[in-house]
């Protein structure tokens, strides 16, 4: 191996250039990963899902045992809540029927609220905790595409960063920066909704920053629900993002920012859903054009 000793400097320089080129290449805006990366990711994803089976089995037993301990108290509370829900179910059913009839009258088929859920399992989390990414076991073959929203039962947890053939990477809410904005709103009565944008995650207060664009008369109270508004992008409307923790003025005092605590726990996730909005953005534009022509 005298090659290494004699030409050490040359090897080092070439290596350094290769590294700089690679970093530069991958930092640029990439719509899709290269074929080699997709292949590696899918292969490793398959191995990971095999390994995940026993791991998931063990952690499941552990969490189950933890849950057994307070199952009695939980049952009591749930029974009480269930009684209240019965009336609510009837009301929701009525409203849904009415909504459907009204929609049929207006000849609206899809709304921003409709979506097709794609079930997925989390197979790994990036050890590089700065990046806040998890990998799920569905890909473009199952209909997953870049920028789709990912939710759990409790609420939004992130969006698809890259979609490969059989696996995809999810950028978690906690890793959002100013480039990953979500248009969101706080629903109020009689059209006094408050609109704004989720503009990244603040590590210090452990909350999302919801910049309020349109001020309304009312003040925002603690514990109010922030949901996605469905405007712009591919996110459906009405997905729960979190609850307001505190409202602070921004550095110039012109707008206000609400600190929003995410509703879903992004650290303990196994099953997720990728939501494919039924109403395409493209279709929306086409509809508008049709209206203009008329």
């Amino acid at each position: 191996m005298s090659f290494f000793r004699n030409k050490r400097l040359l090897v080092f320089l070439i290596g350094f250039i290769v590294v700089v080129v690679l970093i530069g290449y991958s930092l640029g805006e990439r719509d899709k990963l290269s074929t080699a990366e997709q292949l590696v990711n899918d292969t490793v994803g398959w191995v990971q899902s095999v390994i995940n089976m026993p791991v998931g089995f063990v952690t499941n037993i552990y969490t189950n045992m933890n849950e057994f301990l307070n199952i009695y108290e939980e049952n009591q509370i749930l029974k009480e809540q269930l009684a209240g829900y019965k009336g609510l179910i009837y009301e929701v059913q009525e409203l849904r029927d009415e909504n459907q009839t009204l929609r049929d009258n207006l000849e609206l088929t899809n709304s921003m609220r409709d979506y097709e859920p794609i079930q997925a399992n989390v197979i790994s989390r990036s050890p590089e905790l700065w990046l806040e990414e998890v990998t799920i076991d569905t890909g473009t073959q199952d209909g997953v595409q870049k920028n789709m929203v990912v939710v759990t039962g409790e609420g939004m947890i992130g969006k698809i960063k890259t979609a490969n053939q059989f696996t995809s990477k999810v950028q978690l809410l906690t890793g959002f920066d100013q480039f990953n904005r979500i248009s969101a709103m706080i629903s109020k009565e009689e059209g006094h909704d408050i609109f704004g944008m989720i503009e990244g995650f603040d590590k210090e207060s452990n909350s999302l920053m919801f910049r309020i664009i349109e001020e309304s008369e009312e003040d925002i109270g603690e514990g109010e629900l922030v949901v996605s508004s469905g405007m712009g992008g591919v996110f459906p409307a009405g997905l729960i993002i979190g609850t307001v923790k505190e409202v602070v003025p921004d550095q110039y005092g012109l707008t206000r920012t609400a600190l929003v605590e995410p509703a879903a726990d992004v650290y303990d996730i196994n099953q997720v859903m990728v939501l494919d909005r039924s109403l395409d953005v493209v279709d929306e534009d086409a509809e508008e054009e049709e209206v203009k022509e008329e």
């Binding site: 700089v20 970093i23 991958s26 990963l33 995940n52 790994s124 989390r125 700065w130 650290y267």
Partner: protein, 175 residues
Amino acid sequence: MNRLYIPLFLFLILVLEGVATFFLPADLIMGELLIVPHWLLAGLVFVVLYYDSENTYFALMYAVIFGLLFDMIYTSILGVYMFSYATVIYIIHLLKKMLHINFFSMILFHIIGIGAGDLLIYFVYNITDLVDMAWNDYLLDRLLPTIGLNLIFVLVIYPFLKKQLVKWRTTEQWK
């Protein structure tokens, strides 16, 4: 056949790193601390200490290959882990001559390796603006806990791995 065991073992570590954070208690991850498993780097340090001789560069080769795989699978920013792992393994390859390898020097090499590796990653991520973290926060919240928890992993696999690597090396030399 023997030559295949080490890449297979490193690949297994690489895959397991992805589920490593599921085992840590949620409080630990939720809090301020950022504990990053550098198991692959620890495995590579073992290879350079107990498998490589002075003139072989197996660990360096594996560092480049598996570092690049790590970048592809977990970060999608190619080159960062490859660069830092390869540099660290090369430095340890040079330092290895200076110390007689026993249990304590092994621990010392691991501290140097994981510390330098994570520092290099911080440095590269910082100059590419991917991470904005003050030096003090980084030192206390990430570097020290990371070294600490990875040393536990090193101590757990040390007895098993050392024996195997020495065995593989001797069978390799007989050929």
